[in-house]
Subunit: 439 residues, 2 copies
């Protein structure tokens, strides 16, 4: 059995955390391939090493003195090395990094050094092989992950090794420069490695015991989600339920490898299993609730719109020409509402309005701002009649005005639009009706 284990920044922020990580890894011989992040925050006001590296590089790139900032980074690593009692010098590495900062090796290079150095430290501490991600993870000229080239190199390389630490977050471009995934991209590296070694499980170790039914900033102590499907997760994370990098799902999903989100500080907790599909009944009718603020609705009215071939296409064309993705498009008989991200829409507002007038000749258009969208997601919703009734009754009792409803025939989710002012009470009402009253 082979597991790929990825550890987030808070799991590797200090020597104390490194010890927990080693205990976890050595507890099972199957944990052969390890993907570390850069050291994260040790306390709430602390700075992540990645941010220190960005700051330091920005000074260097402007030709300013960055020695005290650079020393602070060295101190973070030597603090860990000394506390762990390791016989390890990173002087050569730090010299190279310093030289490359002056030589303007790029912000991606700078940021990636956090994982690179942490990988060397962790490999030494575990007695594992170190494999530089720059030699096995590739991007193409457009800066996108190059799975073809990576698949030619990475699986073969890892097949020769009993174990390895492969730093997360970065890889190399065709011209050998360093390129990173977007922030949180170590999750993606872990997923790529898991697919490459055909792992039985991809464990993603964080500082939470998996996903929660609702955002803990809104609900006190929400229930955990023990099993979630990829689809459910995608819907919830789209709406802002964080923890896992979105792109981390594809490599393992394609290979049929489940993901287990685990808590480094509470390894005994089951965490959340992310699976393709499952016969396991979820604890509640809903798997999770997530939501986002900051949407705008453009309401378009035109008599006989439904009978006008191409009307919907022409409406969407206007948004597309202005580079705006639409989120939802509920429609009545003579009305069509296009829901968009407020921040993207606002600067293009007048171009879009005049485009709609020219392209679609509507009777009226009006714009409503400050809408929040809530996704109620659950694979069990399809077989539980009355889910919609419970949701909307609960919202009515909570005095929430429902501005928009969108349920497609997948029956996996219901999307509800409410005023931003009602967002928290709406989330609470839905959580309560499905979770608290169910207990």
């Amino acid at each position: 059995m082979t597991k790929v284990v990825k550890f987030g920044g808070s799991s590797l922020a200090s020597a104390e955390q490194f010890k927990k990580v080693k205990e976890i890894i050595t507890a099972e011989s199957s944990r052969r391939f390890v993907v570390p992040s850069a050291p994260g925050k040790r306390f709430s006001n602390d700075t992540k090493v990645t941010d220190m590296l960005y700051g330091c590089y920005d000074l260097a790139a402007k030709g300013k003195d960055f020695s005290s900032e650079f020393d602070a980074i060295k101190e973070r690593y030597y603090g860990i090395i000394n506390d762990l009692g390791l016989d390890l010098s990173l002087e050569k590495e730090f010299e190279t990094i310093k030289a490359c900062f002056i030589g303007k090796a790029g912000r991606d290079y700078a940021a990636s050094r956090g994982e690179y150095l942490n990988g060397i430290v962790l490999a030494k501490y575990l007695g594992y092989n170190f494999v530089d991600a720059a030699d096995v993870i590739y991007f193409n000229d457009q800066g996108q992950f190059d799975s073809a080239r990576t698949n030619e190199v990475l699986p073969q390389r890892l097949a020769t090794l009993d174990n390895a630490v492969i730093p997360g977050f970065y890889g190399s471009m065709p011209n050998d420069t360093i390129k990173t995934f977007s922030r949180g991209g170590s999750d993606v590296t872990g997923s790529i490695v898991a697919a490459a070694v055909n792992a039985d499980l991809y464990e993603n170790w964080t500082d939470v015991s998996g996903f929660l039914v609702c955002d803990p900033r809104i609900i006190d102590n929400p229930q955990p989600i023990t099993t979630i499907t990829y689809k459910e997760l995608r819907e919830l994370s789209y709406m802002g339920a964080g923890v896992l990098h979105e792109d981390a799902i594809f490599p393992v999903r394609k290979a049929g490898i489940p993901i287990n989100i685990k808590n480094t500080n509470k390894p005994e907790d089951m965490g959340t299993m992310i699976v393709e599909s499952t016969s396991q009944k979820p604890a509640f009718t809903i798997t999770g609730i997530a939501g986002k603020k900051g949407f705008t609705v453009v309401n378009i009215e035109k008599d006989m719109m439904n009978a006008e071939l191409g009307f919907g296409r022409r409406v969407l064309e206007v948004f597309e020409k202005n580079g705006i993705c639409f989120e939802h498009m509920p429609s009545g008989i003579d009305t069509m509402s296009v829901v968009v991200h407020q921040a993207e829409f606002a600067p293009k507002e007048q171009e879009i309005m005049s485009g709609l007038h020219r392209n679609c000749h509507p009777d009226t258009i009006d714009i409503e701002t400050d809408l929040a969208l809530i996704a109620v997601v659950g694979r069990a919703m399809k077989s539980n009649r009355g889910t919609a009734g419970r949701i909307f009754s609960a919202l009515a009792h909570a005095h929430v005005n429902v501005k928009m409803i969108d349920q497609g025939s997948s029956e996996l989710n219901i999307i509800i639009g409410v005023n931003e002012a009602d967002f928290e009470s709406a989330m609470k009402a839905i959580y309560t009706i499905f979770v608290d009253t169910q207990l």
Copy 2:
């Protein structure tokens, strides 16, 4: 005060009905302009004169003998004329019509003679002027109503008259041939006449006392709708709540003239007032429920669809290229459902499927057939929180599985998709929760 009064076929099916019509017209001197349909059915197995004319003309056009069929039509008119004791001969008219049938004057010409002759009879009976619609209502070369040309002639002509009977349903083309509106088009003529004389009210006399909250074939003895807005009506009639020709709304709505649907057999009933907007509270939270069977849903799934600029536009483009109007397009995060008319979609199914694959590269597409759509419509829904909750709770109690929900931010309606097998029970459940429990 000026009212335009339009009478439907059943209101003018016999001498007995003509008497009721005369009583109604003479009861108010404002009822100066009258638009009649052709004589309709006198009993359920009877044939409408319009259908008799079509049948007769079809024989004539094939060069067959149509004299007995033609005599049957003459009998219908002479029956009315004799029973009313009128001193009126239509021999000259019938000779002309016969000659034109043989000369292949067209199906539209044939059909229009029902209204034409009935107009002559009614004008004589009322002592009103007769104005042939062919001289005042115009179509353009594309066969569409030509409002510009009509507005040049019709208002001037009617301004010179104290009263007039103008037959409904037809007008003339630029080449002087006769052209009809689609079936039920006398409603449209009435509306055009009302706008032309700037009427205070357009009375549309039928055989029902206005609109009902629900289809009486589904609900026994449903409540009447006393006041409905144009928008509400449009939504309900789109979904199959008949009575008024769709195109009849535009001319009067543009001119700000309300429509009153009245019952010739119960003139004392208030009927339904159709208005632009009203401060009148409706009797129930919902104004009406209507629905239609025969829809198909095309479910399209693709990971990260939401982030793909132009995805929705490309989907709709495929339907448009195949000449298919879509009804609704509810969407999740990675899913989009396109709801279309089954009868339109089925013959183009494979073209559309391959078009979607080529144009949009979805992960999966599946097709679900036999969906019914239900529109719950009401201007009071916006201010009554909990409407959605009541609907979906009622549907759950009735064991109806909700396949799709679409509520735009107009909050004037909620569109619900259910399996066709659940259609009637869904309609009943919604009617009961809003109307019966409210009483």
